[in-house]
């Protein structure tokens, strides 16, 4: 019965290790991909607005808080109307994915910490046992 119990636990640990690694890798991949795409398209958007200097969006940010507050609605309106809708959509979707990934990770962080802790302990034990033999 003891060997059977050990076999069951080993299978559970192997399965959980695989699942945890896959979950971490997939979350990291999604986060990096979404982050990269969002960053890239924000860069493109900034370039578009710096090329069109007549729109005067970015100099306002350096003018101080008073000027920024008075022109905030104008700036937002220009941003919405002048940005190509495709770029705007991609940035929006990218940010949404980023936020969802962060939310899910933060929500499960405690569970993930416990799982990783137990997995490390178990594998350390098994490696030590093997080495002793």
């Amino acid at each position: 019965m003891k060997t059977l119990e050990h076999k069951i636990l080993k299978k559970v640990y192997v399965m959980e290790t695989r699942n945890t690694l896959f979950s971490i890798a997939s979350k990291l991949a999604i986060f990096l991909a979404a982050g990269f795409v969002t960053f890239l398209f924000i860069q493109i958007m900034i370039e578009i607005f710096t090329d069109e200097a007549s729109l005067n969006i970015f100099p306002v940010f350096f003018e101080g808080s008073e000027v920024m507050r008075t022109h905030l609605t104008d700036i937002l309106y220009i941003l919405f109307s002048e940005t190509p809708p495709e770029i705007f959509m991609i940035i929006g979707v990218g940010l949404c994915i980023l936020l969802i990934t962060i939310y899910v990770t933060v929500r499960n962080i405690k569970k993930m910490k416990n799982v990783i802790h137990d997995l490390i302990q178990y594998w350390e034990k098994t490696v030590l046992k093997k080495n002793q033999k």
Binding site: M1, L4, E5, I8, K11, V12, K113
Partner: protein, 177 residues
């Protein structure tokens, strides 16, 4: 039914929180009972071991869906029962492919029964006949629909009506004689 002991409930919550070590509590506590249950249904020890392992793995996979206030053992028994069902389904005895049977069928293809069926089939329309023949040959409804160039639901209706027609014809014939 016994109420779950406090330790079971606590352990369940801890396993749900990611403390995999606590799963050992369930394994140690329930393995003998599940083993006895499965071995009472099976006599091959190697398969018993496999099924016990599979039951606990399935239990671990489903642990997040389990209600904390419900007892664990009945749930485990149910999983073991399902594992047994799956095992029996997998190891169901199948009729082996026998060339002799095929040859005999080829030599005597026209039995009385088949002649009866063919005479009945003259009462249904050509499309219905074609569909029924394909059903008897083992085609799925989807394949029949594709072959006839009809929608799946239309094919279903076609076959159902043909069957009803044949049943009513056969009943009429029986009451007539």
């Amino acid at each position: 039914m016994d109420k779950p002991s406090i330790s079971d409930r606590d352990m369940l919550i801890r396993v749900k929180n990611g403390e995999i070590d606590c799963f050992a509590h369930f394994v140690k506590k329930f393995t003998p009972r599940i083993y006895t249950y499965i071995s009472s249904q099976l006599f091959d020890k190697t398969h018993t071991d496999d099924l016990v392992q599979n039951s606990f793995i399935a239990f671990y996979k489903a642990i997040n869906r389990l209600d904390n206030d419900r007892p664990v053992l009945p749930y485990l028994y149910e999983i073991a029962k399902n594992e047994l069902k799956m095992f029996y389904r997998k190891h169901k005895e199948m009729l082996s492919f026998d060339e002799k049977i095929i040859n005999e069928q080829c030599i005597h293809p026209q039995t009385e029964e088949t002649q009866d069926i063919e005479s009945f089939l003259t009462h249904v329309g050509p499309l219905q006949k074609k569909a029924l023949v394909m059903v008897s040959e083992g085609y799925s409804y989807k394949e029949i629909a594709d072959k006839l160039g009809k929608k799946l639901n239309t094919t279903r209706t076609l076959i159902r009506r043909a069957r009803q027609l044949l049943i009513s014809k056969k009943n009429n014939e029986n009451t007539g004689t």
